[in-house]
């Protein structure tokens, strides 16, 4: 009886961890998406964070938090390195370039046996990640998104997304924003990779390939890109639903795929648009309170 309970709590707890991790990741991806960067680089950045942090904790004996930070920084550096050429590419080409990046990282991980363990991966990773840490990261990301959205920075980002030529004419440094958001998104990916690695006891190259990038990308898109809570909702739904469909590996894939297609076809605003009808129309009307009775600034 106790064993059953223990097992249940064990898997349930892991689900919570996964949800929190994916929420964190979702906002990271959202940063890039907010200026139309359809990035498939998340897998690659996660891999960099994962392998480097594991190397430090297992072979260098470094403290966990520092190792995670280094993972994030390495990913950010990589993003910086490829940024100059990659950011110049438009839409589809940008996506393909980030896709190539993820695959190159994956292949290196697959072959660099001495450091990454090759195809076998790395086992015996100390499980240092704790739920509260993931909760802090998720909450932090959510707050960051909230803070930026409601400010003049958020307005600039929305303008870039819709019309980047006009935005430049307004004095907005579009390339600068793109760069910062891309690197930040990579930083989040690196940290998430490091946290994921120390959650799972084992990592392998296939954990951080195209599929991971696609999943991460689908969190904000499915949840509803425009809504603040969109990435959160998308991450939770996409993480929990496959667990509910655990009874068959194959059917899980089929049903998840059908679900995504359904959302894309019938809910263009993402899952959040189901809830947000009232929310949206309220926000459309009373916008800014003009200086006669100055209470708030321009909240979105």
């Amino acid at each position: 009886m106790m064993a059953v309970l223990d097992n249940f709590l064990l898997s349930y707890g892991n689900l919570v961890n996964l949800c929190l991790l994916n929420i964190f990741l979702a906002y990271g991806v959202w940063l890039a998406l907010s200026v139309n960067m359809f990035t498939l680089g998340t897998g690659g950045f996660m891999a960099l964070g994962a392998y480097s942090s594991v190397f430090l904790t297992m072979h260098g004996g470094w403290p966990f938090s520092v190792a995670v930070l280094v993972g994030g920084l390495l990913a950010a550096l990589a993003a910086l390195a490829i940024a100059t050429p990659v950011l110049r590419l438009r839409g589809d080409y940008f996506m393909l370039a980030t896709f190539a990046f993820t695959e190159v990282v994956r292949i290196i991980a697959l072959n660099w046996d001495s450091v990454t363990g090759g195809a076998v991966g790395i086992v015996g990773i100390p499980q240092l990640t704790q739920t509260w840490q993931l909760a802090v990261l998720a909450a932090g990301a959510l707050y960051f998104a909230y803070a930026v959205r409601g400010s003049y920075l958020g307005r600039a980002i929305a303008a870039i997304r819709e019309d980047d030529v006009m935005s430049q004419a307004m004095g907005i440094n579009v390339l600068g924003y793109r760069l910062s958001l891309f690197v930040s998104s990579a930083f989040v990916g690196g940290i998430a990779g490091a946290m994921a690695a120390h959650l799972n006891f084992f990592i392998g190259p296939s954990d951080f390939g195209l599929l991971r990038s696609i999943d991460a990308l689908s969190y904000p898109i499915l949840g509803g890109f425009d809504a603040l809570l969109g990435p959160l909702v998308g991450a939770i739904l996409t993480t929990i639903l496959p667990e509910l469909l655990r009874f068959s590996n194959q059917w899980r894939e089929i049903l998840m795929g059908l679900l995504v297609i359904g959302v894309v076809l019938f809910l263009p605003g993402g899952a959040m648009s189901l809830l947000s009808f009232k929310w949206r129309s309220r926000h459309r009307q009373s916008k800014l309170v003009l200086p006669d009775s100055v209470e708030q600034g321009a909240e979105r």
């Binding site: 960051f144 803070a147 930026v148 400010s151 003049y152 920075l153 307005r155 600039a156 929305a158 303008a159 819709e162 019309d163 030529v165 006009m166 935005s167 430049q168 004419a169 307004m170 004095g171 907005i172 440094n173 579009v174 390339l175 459309r284 009307q285 009373s286 916008k287 800014l288 003009l290 200086p291 100055v294 600034g297 321009a298």
Partner: protein, 256 residues
């Protein structure tokens, strides 16, 4: 805001064999309203795009108050106090008038990223300040009553005014208007002319691209005429109207 002097010296631009601008040299004097006219395809909009940095010029140079800006990026040029409107009105239609105009105030926000994240008082103060300024601008232009209206639902004339308000929100020294009167009826054009005069009184240098010679004559102090990518004439409106080269340039293309 005090106006800047814009000078173009032998700028040129061609796209894959098509010569959009052959060689253009002109001056828009500080505080004055200068018109840039010419038939379709004469290179007016390309010239404007070169000034704002959208395209690099193939030759020559562009200077503002004798500072060369030819190699700068658009947002850097904007930061120097150059603002513009677009021929096909580029506003964010899903947002309200005040939200659009506030975008123009972007570069004046004093709050840094840290201020934003930590929600320090500086951010709210900066926001209030810019909001007040934009509100005043809306009042100046006469669209304050439309502040919370979604831009997409406005008339063409009102949208044009919102765009101008947004350009003014950047606190420019030089304002470039790309065919602002296009598609306007008579009373709208009158209102626009009055608005341009107000802007001039604010001390801003205005460069006006237009098709409509009559409108331009009423509003400008000085006109430059382009044809086939070159300037073919310049002078006061009265002088321009008499010049045979100008009349000839326009005769072939009877504009609406």
């Amino acid at each position: 805001m005090s106006g800047a002097t814009l000078e173009l010296y032998r700028i040129a631009k061609h796209f894959q064999g098509v010569v959009a601008v052959d060689s253009v040299s002109m001056v828009a004097e500080a505080g004055k309203v200068t018109g840039l006219i010419g038939p379709n395809g004469s290179g007016k909009t390309t010239t404007m795009n070169i000034v704002t940095g959208l395209y690099p010029t193939d030759a020559g140079r562009v200077t503002i108050d004798d500072v060369e800006i030819s190699r700068l990026l658009p947002h850097q040029i904007a930061a120097l106090g150059v603002a513009r409107t677009f021929q096909n009105i580029r506003l964010l239609n899903e947002q309200t008038v005040i939200q659009n105009v506030m975008l123009g105030a972007h570069r004046h926000h004093g709050a840094s990223l840290l201020d934003v994240i930590l929600r320090l008082p500086k951010m709210a103060r900066s926001e209030r300040q810019e909001l007040r300024r934009c509100d005043d601008l809306l009042a100046l232009i006469g669209i304050r009553h439309l502040a919370d209206v979604q831009v997409g639902s406005l008339s063409y004339g009102d949208r044009r005014r919102v765009e101008i308000a947004r350009a003014l929100a950047t606190q420019p020294r030089l304002l470039l208007l790309d065919e602002p009167a296009a598609g306007m009826n008579f009373s709208e054009k009158q209102a626009l002319a009055a608005l341009i005069e107000t802007i001039q009184e604010m001390g801003v240098t205005v460069l006006l691209i237009e098709h409509d010679i009559d409108f331009v004559s009423h509003v400008t102090d000085h006109i430059v005429v382009l044809n086939f990518g070159r300037e073919i004439a310049e002078g006061t409106p009265a002088e321009i109207k008499q010049m045979p080269s100008v009349i000839e340039a326009y005769l072939g293309t009877e504009d609406a």
